[in-house]
C-alpha cells in the first residue's frame, strides 16, 4: 500500500495534471478576487484562520481547494525529488563534476520550490499586519515596537507639465524599540526595518484634485518573506545554469 502510494505521489504525470488543476483553480479564483475585491483584499492583511472565520464556504471554497492542491503538489514534488536525489547520489561516481551539477540542478530547484511553498504557508498562517492612516503624531503599538508618525511630507515635480504631480511622499517616524528610541523616515517604496518588523508607506486611495494625498502606514512581521524571496531567486539562478546546457543538448549541441 505504502509502495503504491509512494509510486502514485512520485509520478510526473500527477505533477502535470496537478499543475493544470492549480492553473484552472487560480483562474476561477481570479474571477472571485475581481468580483469580491473587498473580501479577498482582507486576506492580504489577515491570517488565513482569522479570514476564513469571517467568510462562508460560498466565497472561500476555491481557496480551500487551492490549499488542498498545493499540499498534494508539495508532496508530489517532495517524493519526486527524494527519488531522484537517491538515484543521483547512488550513481554519482558515473558523472564528472559538471554533468553531476547539471543533473542535480532540477532537484535543487524542486527543493527551493518546497522552501517557497513553505514560506507562503508560513506567511498565510502566521503573518502579523497592522495599518494606520497617517495623521500628525498618530501612534501605533506593534510589539516590540511603538511607532509614532510625526507628519506627512510630499515633494512635487517642478516641471510645468507635471504641476501638482507628487514625486515622493515620506513620513518621519519615532520608533521605540526595546533597545531605545530612534528616528527614521519611511517613504513610498523605501520601508524601514526594525527588530524583524517592516514599516511601509502606502497611498490610501486616490487624491481628489486640490487635496493632499492621504497616506497609510503598513507595519508587518512576515516570517515567510525570506524563504519566498531567497527560494525564488535560487530557482532562477539554477534555471539560468541548467536550461542553456539542456537546450543545447536537445538541439543537437
Amino acid at each position: 500500500m505504502l509502495k503504491f502510494l509512494w509510486k502514485f505521489l512520485g509520478d510526473v504525470n500527477l505533477t502535470i495534471w496537478l499543475l493544470l488543476a492549480i492553473t484552472l483553480n487560480l483562474v476561477i479564483g481570479s474571477r472571485y478576487a475581481k468580483q469580491f475585491r473587498e473580501i479577498f483584499n482582507q486576506l492580504n492583511y489577515l491570517r488565513f484562520q482569522d479570514w476564513v472565520a469571517k467568510h462562508t464556504l460560498a466565497e472561500s471554497w476555491w481557496v480551500w481547494l487551492l490549499l488542498f492542491l498545493l499540499v498534494l503538489f508539495a508532496l508530489n514534488t517532495a517524493v519526486c525529488t527524494t527519488d531522484r536525489l537517491f538515484l543521483l547520489v547512488k550513481r554519482r561516481k558515473e558523472y564528472g563534476f559538471t554533468p553531476f551539477v547539471l543533473a542535480i540542478a532540477p532537484s535543487l530547484m524542486h527543493l527551493c520550490f518546497l522552501v517557497v511553498i513553505a514560506g507562503h504557508a508560513i506567511s498565510l498562517f502566521s503573518v502579523q499586519v497592522r495599518q494606520m492612516p497617517v495623521t500628525p503624531n498618530a501612534v501605533m503599538t506593534f510589539p516590540p515596537l511603538s511607532i509614532t508618525a510625526r507628519d506627512q511630507r510630499s515633494v512635487y515635480w517642478s516641471e510645468p507639465k507635471l504641476a501638482g504631480v507628487a514625486r515622493q511622499h515620506s513620513v518621519p517616524l519615532v520608533v521605540t524599540t526595546p533597545a531605545g528610541t530612534v528616528s527614521d523616515e519611511v517613504a513610498i517604496l523605501e520601508p524601514v526595518f526594525r527588530d524583524g518588523v517592516s514599516i511601509h508607506l502606502d497611498t490610501a486611495g486616490k487624491a481628489k484634485p486640490g487635496e493632499a494625498q492621504r497616506l497609510k502606514l503598513i507595519v508587518k512581521h512576515d516570517p515567510g518573506l525570506y524563504p519566498i524571496l531567497i527560494g525564488n531567486a535560487l530557482i532562477c539562478l539554477l534555471m539560468l545554469l541548467y536550461f542553456p546546457s539542456v537546450l543545447k543538448n536537445r538541439n543537437g549541441g
Binding site: L20, W157, L189, I218, L229, N232, M239, F243
Partner: protein
Amino acid sequence: MFSISPLQWFTVAACLYGGSLFFFLLKREKVSLILLLSGFAVNTAYQLYRGWHYVIPTSDNMVTEIYFIPWCLAFLALGLRLRKKYSGAALSIVLPICFFTAIALIFPTVVVPPDPKHNVFLSTLFFWIESMAHACFFVAGWFGLLFLLKRTEDPFFDSFAVWGFVLYSIAQIAGAVWCYLGWAAPFNWSEKHLLSAALWCFYCAYLHLNFSTRWNVREKSWFAFTGLWVTFAIAYNYYIHYLGGKGA
C-alpha cells in the same frame, strides 16, 4: 504641410509591419524583412518617446505591454533571422506581430504620468522581462501551430516556451520585491497576481511534459499553441476589460 505627432508613430510602425506581412505573403522576403526592420525602428522610437513624454523619464511607459509586445516580437523575429537554423521560420512571426499591433490600435493606452510607486528600476525590469516572456510564449505558440500544420519539421516552439518560462520566473521575482517594498507583500490575493500565478503553473506543467513518456511532440505543440491563447487571455485581460474604449 503633412505632419504627425509622436503619439502617431505607432500607427506608422503598424503600417510598416502590415507592409512586411503583405510582402511576406507574396513571398518577397527581402522587401518584407526591410519593412519589418523599418517598423521595428519606428516602434523603438515610439517606445522611447513614450518614456520621455513628460520631459522627465518615465521608464514604465517605455515598456507598456500593449505597445511593447509587437516590439518584443519584432526583436525576436529579427534576432532569429540572424540564426541559420531559424531563419526560414523567423519572418513568419510578422503575422502575430500584425495581430498584436492591431490589438494595440484598437485599445490605445495613455502615457501615464509619473507617480512615486512607478518608474523605478524594479518596476521597469518587471514589466520589461514579463513582456519579453509573454512574447516568447506567443512565439512558442505560433511555432507550435506551424508544427501542427506541418509547415516546419523542427519543434522550435520548445526552446521559446522554456526561455519564456525562465524569463517569466525572473520577472515574478522582480515583481515580488517591488510589490513587497511598495505594498508590503510579495504576493497579493488580487486578480492580477492570481492570473500571473496561473500562467506560471501552466508553463511549469508544459516544462514537465519532457519528463513524461505519455506526451509526444505533437501533443506538446498543441500545449504550446494553447499556451498562446492562455497567455493572451491573461496578459491582455487588463487592457481589454479595463481600458477598452477609453482611448489614448
